[in-house]
């Protein structure tokens, strides 16, 4: 397959997931388009390096680096987080899954370290498997699993639940944990 055809195939595969990746990190409009374009420009320039069998983790790794560097440099992350929280207020209890309200989950996620948030977003929101997580984080598959496990545990603690029981003692199903600040 010639490089141009390969890139077009990568584009068709990755456009939607990369747009969602940007959306999941609070980027919209031109900001989201810029991130997607930058990732695809890298793929376009380095098409020979994009894995033929599973391109998405490679592209997510590029996106991860671009987004992280931009955020680190210009403090946009703080602004994005504010926008992000404001953009997705807590949903009604009827929308909850099990005992976890989406709003409470997103608020709890926002209380974790940026590294933990990213691991959980990549798996839960962007749909990567633990094996696909490794190249994005730049670590071994074993280390990626460990980081996911620890991030998940910290999320559970943030929600006031342990690994075995989803609803903390003394709290009814559907009730928000008191210590989680739910964005309004």
């Amino acid at each position: 397959m010639d490089p141009d055809t390969r890139f077009r195939a990568v584009f068709d595969l990755a456009y939607g997931p990369l747009c969602r990746y940007a959306r999941h990190r609070g980027l919209t409009g031109p900001d989201a388009e810029d991130l997607v374009a930058q990732v695809l420009e890298v793929a376009w320039r380095r098409i020979d390096e994009v894995p033929a069998d599973d391109a998405l983790p490679w592209l997510y790794a590029v996106a991860h680096n671009i987004w992280r560097n931009q955020a680190r440099r210009d403090r946009r992350r703080a602004d994005l987080l504010v926008r992000f929280r404001a953009s997705f207020p807590a949903l009604a209890a009827a929308d909850s899954v099990g005992s976890f309200e989406p709003g409470a989950l997103r608020a709890a996620l926002g209380c974790l370290s940026e590294a933990d948030q990213e691991v959980l977003r990549l798996v839960a929101w962007d749909g990567l498997t633990p094996a696909q997580l490794a190249p994005v984080l730049g670590c071994s598959p074993v280390a990626a699993r460990t980081r996911l496990h620890r991030a998940r545990a910290r999320l559970a603690r943030q929600l006031g639940v342990d690994q075995q029981h989803r609803v903390p003692a003394g709290q009814k199903q559907g009730e928000r944990p008191d210590h989680v600040e739910v964005p309004r």
Partner: protein, 311 residues
Amino acid sequence: MNQPDALLAALRAARPDPDYQPAPDSPQAMALLARVTAPAHGPERLRPSSRLTRRVILAGIPAVAGAAAIGAAVEVKSGGGPAHLTAPAAASVRAAVLDAFDRSSGDIIQITQTGGPLGLEAAPTAKGSMRAWIYPMLAKPGQEVRSRFVTSVAGRTVRDAEWDYIKARRRGGLIVVNYGDRTWFRGDNGEIVYFPPIGATTASVIRDNIASGLIKVAGEATVRGIRVIKLTFSSGFVSYDEATLYVDARTYLPVEYIASGRGPKGQVNQVRFALQVLPATPVNLARLTTPVPAGFTRTTKPPIILSPWIS
């Protein structure tokens, strides 16, 4: 972790906008594809025949064709009036305009702005205008941008400001010369309440609106003696309620942009930008420097600029 995980499943269900499914064959995607595969971004191996390469890549995408195809694809009535255009023709114009923007992204854009500001609390100064120069026209994040804004009221210069900054960081060195009290200030724009004026983002706003795919080709006209194609944005574009863009029918570069929207009190404001792309020659680059006139006093008090219209 290998077992179905209720917590991760719940977190997945809590992802924002779960129904968001952008399509790779949407107009927005096609515009982005054209942007990504523009010659300036392409691999070195493609550059000698980049135009041809782009056509190969874009083959099978009728909505995106090169600028050379416009003449055959666009039916524009002579003598004004609405043109009868097919959707692919409008998409072709869009692609050609985006291509022209990208080719000129490293040039200087000169913007002459008249009309009231939109969405600002400050009331516009009557009879105000502003001339701005931005270099490069479309900077990438991390790239240094030089800009200068000269504000005039009733034909007299009231303020001349130079702002050099790094794209997407928003902070940078600033020189403001106030002709009203004959003072000048040098500092960091972080000390100022509001900066930059709206013109600083004009080129990128226009480009984003075009890339959105929501433009319509509305005919042809003549603006300042230039034969232009009239493009309208009916809804969903950035920053304004309505906008019209005139592009040079020969080069597809922007000539004039008119936008209107409602202000904070519901009043309709219209702002007009006369646009000219200038090559980055030494003479044109000199326009980016704000001179401090002799006899003006330097002040350490940061100026409070609510908009370029407030003197």
